[in-house]
Subunit: 321 residues, 2 copies
Amino acid sequence: MKYTFYITQDGSVERESDTLVFIGKDFKKHLPVLNVEDIIISGKVSLSSWALDYLSKIGIIVHILRPNGTYMSSIVPISKNEIGMNTVKQAMAYSSRDRLDIAAEMVEGIRHNIIRNLRYYNEDGAISGIIERIRSYAIKKDNINSILGVEGNIWSDYYSSFPKIFKGYPSFKRQFHPPPDSLNAMISFGNAMLYSSVLTKIIASGLNPSISFLHEPSDRSFSLALDIADVFKPVIVERLVAYLVNNRIMKDGDFEERDGGVYLNDTGRNKFVSAYRDRMESSLKVGNGYATYETIIGEECYKLLHHVSEGKRYRSFRMWD
Amino acid sequence: MKYTFYITQDGSVERESDTLVFIGKDFKKHLPVLNVEDIIISGKVSLSSWALDYLSKIGIIVHILRPNGTYMSSIVPISKNEIGMNTVKQAMAYSSRDRLDIAAEMVEGIRHNIIRNLRYYNEDGAISGIIERIRSYAIKKDNINSILGVEGNIWSDYYSSFPKIFKGYPSFKRQFHPPPDSLNAMISFGNAMLYSSVLTKIIASGLNPSISFLHEPSDRSFSLALDIADVFKPVIVERLVAYLVNNRIMKDGDFEERDGGVYLNDTGRNKFVSAYRDRMESSLKVGNGYATYETIIGEECYKLLHHVSEGKRYRSFRMWD
């Protein structure tokens, strides 16, 4: 099983003959290249073209986040490019009835996983009403606007429960560019990390990251990564943030204010990424066995691929309960 | 008109507040960022993530070639991603009769431009026979194998004429990995440069670089860049190499032998890229006016886009004669 190498500190990635090293301010760390699937960089890092050449040869994908914690871009080895024929099949599925089936199935996954989260934090029954409302929305499966409308309502209800989930945040409004408070900052950063992780699995499966089913594929984003990340966000990002907040692991000193917004600083980013890695590599119950989130996200991509290429119906990930 | 910034020397690309500089061994050069569309790197160069952040923000694409002169990978700003809906239309065209029409039209462009080249070097009539043979192949437009067969024959005949075109090469066989002689080395390097230039124009147009019409889109390469580059190779790469060879601009000292092959060394790469840039930026007659190869390649992409999205028949580039 290959894993993700996370770089949160400033430094440079250099090639030393047939291996790679990360050189930080006062340390040097070898990258176990044969066991690494991708690298997610959230620090200020230099990459030499000789290092990129080696990364490319052994097929490691590099994702780079911006200083403000949003996704910037990816360096994808040519050997990991999308497979044109899969793209053709995916485009066919998008243009047919399959699009509605897949989009509706994704919304059902989002609904299930959000409810799963809400029940976890509903010890005193304070969010039972929200759970009931989220459960009640009926999807008309032959109409993309109905599917998108239900999805919008579900997220909106979910956000309205956040003051009950995250201790110390008596009110909450989801806001980006810039995040106005530390909770929004953590959710944005977590989403960028998850987006990167999902993108790696999409690329590894040979799917085209720009042809999506729930989000419109009309702009220039990797909208399939947005589709799949949404199914997992509640159980990965929000659960992780709630853990960090409610156990007082994140402190005021882990954030900084700049450019009118609130951002994780170096120590905050370090703590967050360390907890994110633990969550991604932890095992959870699926069917009769256990698997890590990393594996499950990879399987989600293959389920989509099998739907578009073999007509095997996609069923979205539902957190076990 | 934006242009390409070429880096052939070793050094690093750094950000200095709101501008970028290339720092070489003993000099520093500002990148005129607002006038640059893409950067093609063939030296050994470090890129800081802060520089990449800035490149990404202003939408500059970076292509990196390997030490052996082949294409390695590209760093594409998220704002330049393919547009999913175009990909869907392109996939539809690939899956329909349009694929055959476009592929056949590309082969006619290749045939025309190769003959144009051969006539240029046929002062003594020594390659009239080859020209006639290339002209004679008939394409069955309803059969992809016929189209590909004719294309293969045309290239093969074309290569057989190389000893008459390139002075000092009494025999020639096209070989890659590694290139066995300086002529193959220059053609391979020129093809990698052209592939990068074409990729930029494909990306700028919003087309998907992996869905091709002449090449099969079944592997993980940017096969549409291969399709389009083939139409231009004769009049850009071979003409450039013939100019460098026949005017004795390239010397033995511009190459080095290593790993069982022949490659351009630092000075050779410098000379080659400088001549390549001149060729790409030079104007040629098209219709009633003049345009640079850079512009013409961009237009070729838009012609394809208009075919797949508006049904406006694609007609491949034919060198004026």
